[in-house]
Each structure stands twice: as C-alpha cells, then as structure tokens.
C-alpha cells in the first residue's frame, strides 16, 4: 500500500490524471507484447472523435482527436 501510495503521488505531482496514468500503463503493456498478439492489441489503442466546445449557444472551433495508429507512449 505504501509503495503504491508513493507511486500515485509521483504521477499525480507530474499533473496526470488517473485515467492518463492507467492508459499509459496499458499502452506500455501492449507495447511489450509479441507479434501475433501485438497487432490485435494495437487496435484497442485507437482514439478517434470530433469535439467542439460551445460558448453562449454557439459552437466554437472543431477539434479532431485522431490517434488511429496507436499511442504507444505518445499520450503525455
């Protein structure tokens, strides 16, 4: 418990949310796999969505998040 507490403090101090931390760990595990499994696991890394923030009932600029070739540690 104490070791995990220290680790959690570490990434939280770096400004990461738990979700970022967990997904980064998952990416690392996927990156460590060997080939037949690696390709299969890689598709589970894809992120694709469009979003736009609204202000006073008007949509602002549209942002497309597209990580279809996988994050593999790129997720900051």
């Amino acid at each position: 418990m104490s070791s995990s507490a220290a680790a959690s403090a570490y990434w939280r101090v770096a400004g990461m949310t738990y979700l970022k931390y967990a997904n980064l760990c998952a990416d690392m595990v996927r990156a460590a796999l060997k080939e037949p499994l690696k390709g299969k696991a890689k598709v589970r890394e894809t992120i694709y969505f469009r979003q736009s923030l609204w202000k006073d009932g008007v949509p602002q600029k549209q942002v497309i998040t597209d990580i279809t070739e996988g994050t593999a540690g790129k997720l900051s």
């Binding site: 418990m1 507490a5 738990y18 694709y48 969505f49 469009r50 979003q51 997720l75």
Partner: protein, 328 residues
Amino acid sequence: MLRNGAQALGALLRTQGAALTESLVQQTQGPVVEALAAAGATRGVSTLAVKQRMKSVANIQKITKAMKMVAASKMRSAQVNTENSRGIVAPLVRLLGDLPAAEGTKNVFVPITSDKGLCGGINTTVCKYTRAAVKAVQDGAAAGEGAAAQENMLVVMGEKGRSQLQRDMRNSIFATIADTTKVRVTFPEASAIAEELLKTEYDTTRILYNRFVSAISQKPTIATVLSPDALERSAEAGAAIDAYELEGPDRAELLMDLAEFQLATTLYNAMLENNCSEQSSRMSAMENSTKNAGEMLGKLTLTYNRTRQASITTELIEIISGATALAG
C-alpha cells in the same frame, strides 16, 4: 354512242361512289382513330408514372434490405463487445452504488446518441429523457435550498442528439462530441472523452443512453457518476461504499481515482450499449421499411395491371364497335 355514254356514266358513278364510300369511311374512322390515339397516349402517361414509381419503390426496398443486412452483421459484433464491457462497470456499480437522485450544484448531462439516422426512435428517446432529467433536477433544486447556485450543462455525444437538443437547450450545451463510433469504441477513447468531461468540474454526471436488452428491445437508461466530493458525501449518507474500510491519508486520492475510473468505464459501457442499440434499432426499422416497400410495390403492381387491363378492354370495345358500325 349512247351505250358508250351510258358506260362512261356508269364508270363515272362507280368511281364517284367509291370515292364517296372512301370519304365516308374516313369520316367515320377519323374520330375513332383519334380517340384510339388519345386513349393510347393517356394510357402511356398514367402507366408510365406508375411504372416509374414502382421502379423507385423497388430500388428503395433493395437499399433498405441491404441496410438491414449491414446493421444485423454490425450488431452481432457490437453485441459481443457490449456484453464484454458489462463486466467492467458491474463491480463499480456494486461498490459505489447507482445514485440517480444525487444532488449537486454543477450537474452535467451526457446524452449519447448516434451520428447517423434511419435507426428508429432511439435518439428521440434519449433527447426526451435528457429534457425530462434536466427538468427533474431543476425542480428538485428549486424545491430544495440551493436553487440559485445550480448549474446544468450538456455534453452531447452524436450528431443526431446535437441537432435535436440545440433547438431548445442551446445555451446549456457545454460541448458536443461526434464520430466516436467511426473507427471503433475503445477504452482509451472513452478515457479521452472522460477527461474532457472532467474539465467541466462536475458534481454529478448523468449519462443517458439506450441499454441493449435484446435485438428488438432497447431500454433508455440513466447512469450517474459522482465527483469525489459528492462520493464522500454519499458515503456519509450511507451508500454502499461505506461497507468497505478505506483508511489512511490515501482515502481522498483513492476516491478521486475511483471516481475518474468509474466515469471512464461507465462512458465506455454506455457508448458500446448505445452503439449496439443503434444497430439493432436500425435493423428492425429497416426490416419494417422493407416490408412496407413490399406492400407498396404490391399495391402499385395491382394498380398498374388494372389500368393496363382497363385500357386494353376499352380499346377492344372501341375496335369492335367500330367494326360492327362498318359492317352494319
């Protein structure tokens, strides 16, 4: 000389008579031919229109049939994914409890809808439930004490929900998200969206989606996710989490992590459930429209054959009556 003259007269009369009869025939046949031509023309126009209609209905039927097939095959894979994802939310619901009546000053509603139409009434249902839920929360706050401080925000997922909700709830929309199912729904994707949701600094988040029950049944569902503070309050109020012992200085952090993880998993599950519901709803909608197109085609074929038969009968009657008029 006289005989010659008589012969000449006879010949003249004969030729004249022939000409007379010819002209008579022409006079009597003229209107008939015209009428026939007119009948033929009208027949051509009316049957042509029906024929075109039949062709277009048959084409639409082909399209709806193909869409049904596509939706059915997509539903099958979506169903597997959905059923697998249920295992990830069930323990969290057991641990933290589902608290739809939770109150907070900042309420976020996340209606999950589809990007494409032609899938029955599932998007309308979600929008209807969203309006009702916002109203219920507002009324609940108005009855309580914190009416002034309350804030309701919408994060709409899917194009269809956006176009429906921007009509009357335009000012409470915080963000819109679309194309989540374009590539595929993954947990990292749900996490990325959950992080956008975290930026709203909500007290309660209510995710509205269609839960997939079976291929012919989808249930509109509200999943509530609380912020760490609200979780702490719910624990004090005696929620399920109170049965577990959480000690030490990590308690706040642990609850924060749990709340984040719960948001992402609930969103992940909701996205998959809604995607599966969309496909199954589209499948039944397209099945119905294929059936309706078939019925319509049957009716049109009947009309077409009836008009064709009728015009043939009219023509026959006209020809026969013309012939009898000539013979008589």
